[in-house]
């Protein structure tokens, strides 16, 4: 239908037939989640950009073996995350994702969700500080699920762990964070 954006499966089919423009549209559509997923893993924007870029190229090379009807996002994110992990390891740096709040963020901003209004600025800062003090494993699974808004399958792909492990790891991480919050209650 004219004016209606093509769905993923249509774009992928066209890309599989060699339409580079279709794949470029896929890149446009998924570059943010790919980049941010890589950023969560590498901790640097430069490495994340490289990993996302390489991941898209590698996924393109593998398009022929993408199963029709399969979910594209977890498939892509697994490839991008593999690239990000390789990059993080080869750099030799011990990565630590430091979560930050948007400067000047106001709950009343038009773009914010109603829930955001419920959290005062000090509370957000305290929560971020507690998250940043958590071990990497806990912080990454929480960031993937709540801040990147990845599904369980996508989080598993991004972190390179089974989906069942995502659930148990997330549950334990939330329990530890909850205990921290209760120990030092937010205002």
């Amino acid at each position: 239908m004219e004016g209606r954006p093509a769905d993923d499966s249509d774009l992928i089919s066209r890309a599989q037939r060699g339409e580079t423009a279709a794949y470029e549209e896929i890149v446009q559509r998924y570059q943010q989640v790919a980049f941010r997923t890589a950023y969560v893993i590498t901790g640097t924007a430069a490495d994340a950009e490289d990993a996302a870029q390489e991941g898209f190229v590698k996924a393109y090379r593998a398009l022929d073996r993408f199963r029709p009807g399969a979910e594209w996002r977890p498939w892509l994110l697994r490839i991008v995350a593999n690239e990000a992990r390789n990059r993080a390891r080869s750099s030799g740096r011990r990565h630590h994702l430091e979560l930050r709040l948007i400067e000047g963020f106001r709950p009343g901003d038009a773009a914010q969700s109603p829930e955001a209004v419920a959290i005062a600025s000090d509370e957000r800062r305290r929560l971020i500080a507690l998250l940043n003090a958590m071990v990497d494993e806990d912080r990454l699974v929480i960031a993937s699920r709540y801040f990147l808004e990845l599904s369980g399958e996508e989080t598993a792909a991004a972190l390179g762990i089974p989906e069942g492990t995502v659930k148990s790891r997330l549950s334990r991480a939330l329990a530890r964070l909850r205990a921290q919050v209760e120990e030092a209650p937010l205002a």
């Binding site: 950023y39 995350a81 957000r124």
Partner: protein, 252 residues
């Protein structure tokens, strides 16, 4: 006070992310007609030469990532990091090969045919690695302790290691970090592109089914030939010449 999970959900909008760059993905020419479920096409595609990608793609900042194929990652660095000393354990444990077994037992547990190089004869030891510590399709290593004309390697303690791995297309089986003194050459095995890494030991790590590097400390590897054999990624490692490695590969 809102529930913790609601607070985290609400916090998503307040997280500061780096600006998403406009990714410039240079798309290499793809070979058409490789449909899913065609084993030969799958096997051939598994070792598609990525040099075309490298030529079309701007090298990255601090390391040039060269892909031998979809399952092997090679990182180019100026200097190979020194790996942690290997524990003085049994061969399989020391080299991270998996569980000791026999060729027949390994074959019985794998859905694909293990290739045995006739030039080397029967292996002296066999190891099997399966998920979660190995690739999803499993990985088998044939150990040849001593063979005429191939010295025992000071890095592995044996003459030849032949490792074969199989899994999903998005899995990376082997990760290699190659320094400036090592060379990576493109060769051919059975008509398929293959890679010969030689000249200087390189870092080597196994990668499991979930993309995790198996073991924190990488080990050094000596001369290595990597190629595809009917959809299985095979690596042959030993202090041998390129001609010897190719002879072994062609005898599978």
């Amino acid at each position: 006070m809102p529930d913790l999970e609601d607070q985290l959900t609400a916090l998503a909008g307040a997280i500061e992310w780096p600006t998403t760059p406009r990714l410039r993905v240079s798309l290499p020419a793809r070979r058409g007609g490789l449909g899913w479920g065609r084993p030969l096409a799958y096997a051939a595609a598994a070792v598609v030469l990525i040099v075309a990608v490298l030529l079309a793609y701007t090298p990255t900042r601090d390391a040039i990532a060269a892909w031998v194929n979809l399952h092997v990652t090679i990182n180019r660095v100026q200097q190979v990091p020194t790996p942690s000393p290997r524990p003085s354990a049994a061969l399989g444990e020391r080299l991270g090969l998996g569980t000791p077994t026999t060729l027949n037992q390994a074959q019985a547990r794998l859905a694909w045919q293990v290739g045995v190089p006739s030039m080397l004869g029967g292996p002296d030891e066999v190891y099997l690695q399966q998920p979660p510590t190995g690739p999803s399709g499993g990985e088998v290593t044939l150990v040849y302790a001593q063979r005429t004309d191939i010295p025992v390697s000071g890095l592995t303690g044996v003459s030849v290691l032949v490792t074969e791995a199989r899994g999903r297309v998005d899995e990376i089986f082997f990760q290699k970090t190659v320094g400036s003194e090592a060379t990576v050459e493109q060769v051919t095995v059975g008509g398929h592109p293959a890679y010969w890494i030689s000249g200087h030991p390189h870092d080597f790590a196994f990668v499991d089914a979930n993309g995790n590097v198996y073991g924190e400390s990488l080990r050094l590897a000596t001369n290595t030939l990597i190629f595809d054999h009917n959809g299985t990624i095979v690596r042959i490692e030993g202090d041998m010449t390129r001609a010897q490695a190719l002879q072994i590969a062609n005898s599978i």
